[in-house]
Amino acid sequence: MKKLINKPEDVVAEGLRGMALAHADILKVQFGPDYLVRADAPVKGKVGIVSGGGSGHEPMHGGFVGMGMLDAACPGAVFTSPTPDQVLAASRAVSGGAGVLLIVKNYTGDVLNFEMAADMARAEGIEVEAVVTNDDVAVKDSLYTAGRRGVGVTVLAEKMAGAAAEERRPLEEVAEVCRKVNAQGRSMGMALTSCTVPHAGKPTFDLPEDEMEIGIGIHGEPGRTRMKLKTAAEITELLATAVLEDLPFQRGDRALALVNGMGGTPLIELYLVFQELARICKGRGVAIARSLVGPYITSLDMAGCSLTLVRMDDELLRLWDAPVRTSALRWGV
């Protein structure tokens, strides 16, 4: 295993310390229980937004803490959901009297831990809403699975819900924005290589030099199919078709497009994939009204990418364009 780390068990804490030192103007880091919180939290009269999940997906979620997005993020161990006491402590820290929204990715562990935290927070008199994101079309959403996994849409929902909260809209409306983004968004990812979890020390799965995994999860969960390598044009076609046809997107739709890097894929390849995606959307009469290209929801050092498309309306476009000031997303301020 080749990583810039000390002891595997210290990776998360040391990474958090680095975040705190690099971004003292934006956030503070609390330890025991661990969470990152906006430097100016709690913001009086504003809905507090808390997200979190296993570590190893940086910049998600800590990189999205700041004005216009998250008030706090709860990092679990690598690829392991945080515990309820983290989420409870973060909820207390961001509760400004207008309630707290929990944004949860749909994995059993995340859902159960955030649910318990919500119960505890409510028991303390904090008004809590929870929204679960489940945009990964690689998983069939049915009685026979734990449901679709929450992936790329999570980042976009955090941005737009964050903007709604900055507008001082009430908890129910902020939660509604988050639900709307999730309902209008779909994603699918692929891997060229496996990630390597620090405490495991070896790749999670073996992928031959001439094969790739389509429909991969962000923890190296198995995808839909394994196949021979293809060109960027063919790979983008595969992912985009699954995403576009699932919602489905229609001629005339305006979309927010995220071409996300899994951590080990260089930026030039992501831009190359983006122009393929733009070509495909154009061919289907779907206009890419806004876009984001880069590593935003990663899987440690995995090479690969994921595509996310959200059908936008005027309200969502306004919320997307609204100012945001976090370490990973920043504009308008």
């Binding site: 959901s81 059993t108 831990n113 069939k140 026979y144 734990a146």
Partner: protein
């Protein structure tokens, strides 16, 4: 015979010891259909519980079980943290204030805990989860006691039911938890959570009725 607070502590220590010795086996089972951390998660949690027990050793049974639940919730994470945490929190609520438990109270407490797990996880039998060993075990326990069996015999009947339920998960296709992403590919593997849950039931029988352990053919 009544179940004392110290007997409950013995049971918890026996379960912690069983988890520690089965840690790698549990993780191995989880690596086949999950993410290879169930043994690590459970062991992390119960080592923390062992460290905390002395501090609550003088309190009533309900308080002890509540404290165990809280500790598991705050140290395990993943799916099993809230589930085992809920199991102990609900048992604690059902036994609040009691310094000893009658066999019926013990059975009722365990039943309340298992119901809490089912509610928290929204799982029914047959979904390839810990529920598949917990539910049969509590049913066997209550049935045996109502049928007039001694606590000792009832405990081992519960253990047998839990073991059967654990083994029954092997052919199942998971419809809950991480394993469900595998669909059909989840069949043919024993569920790690059902396996740790069997250890929970067995720990009580071994702690309280070691001499009665039946000799399986």
């Amino acid at each position: 015979m009544p179940i004392t607070r110290d007997a409950v502590l013995d049971w918890l220590k026996a379960f912690a010891a069983a988890i520690a010795s089965e840690r790698d086996h549990l993780t191995e089972l989880d690596s086949a259909i999950g993410d290879a951390d169930h043994g690590a998660n459970m062991d992390r949690g119960f080592q923390a519980v062992l460290g905390m027990l002395p501090a609550v050793a003088e309190q009533d049974v309900g308080a002890v079980l509540k404290a165990v639940g809280m500790k598991l919730v705050s140290t395990v994470g993943g799916a099993s943290g809230p589930l085992y945490g809920t199991l102990f929190l609900q048992m604690g609520a059902a036994t609040a204030g009691k310094l000893t438990l009658s066999p019926a109270e013990w059975a009722a407490g365990l039943g309340a805990g298992v119901e809490g797990v089912a509610r928290r996880g929204r799982a029914r039998r047959g979904e390839k989860t810990m529920i598949d060993s917990l539910v049969p075990a509590t049913e066997a326990l209550s049935a045996a006691l109502e049928g007039g069996a001694s606590l000792e015999d009832a405990l081992w009947q519960a253990e047998r039911a839990a073991r059967r339920g654990m083994l029954d998960t092997t052919p199942m296709v998971a419809t809950k938890g991480r394993a469900s992403y595998l669909g059909e590919r989840s069949a043919g593997h024993q569920d790690p959570g059902a396996t740790s849950a069997h250890l929970l039931v067995r720990a009580a029988a071994e702690a309280w009725a070691p001499e009665r352990e039946p000799h399986h053919p």
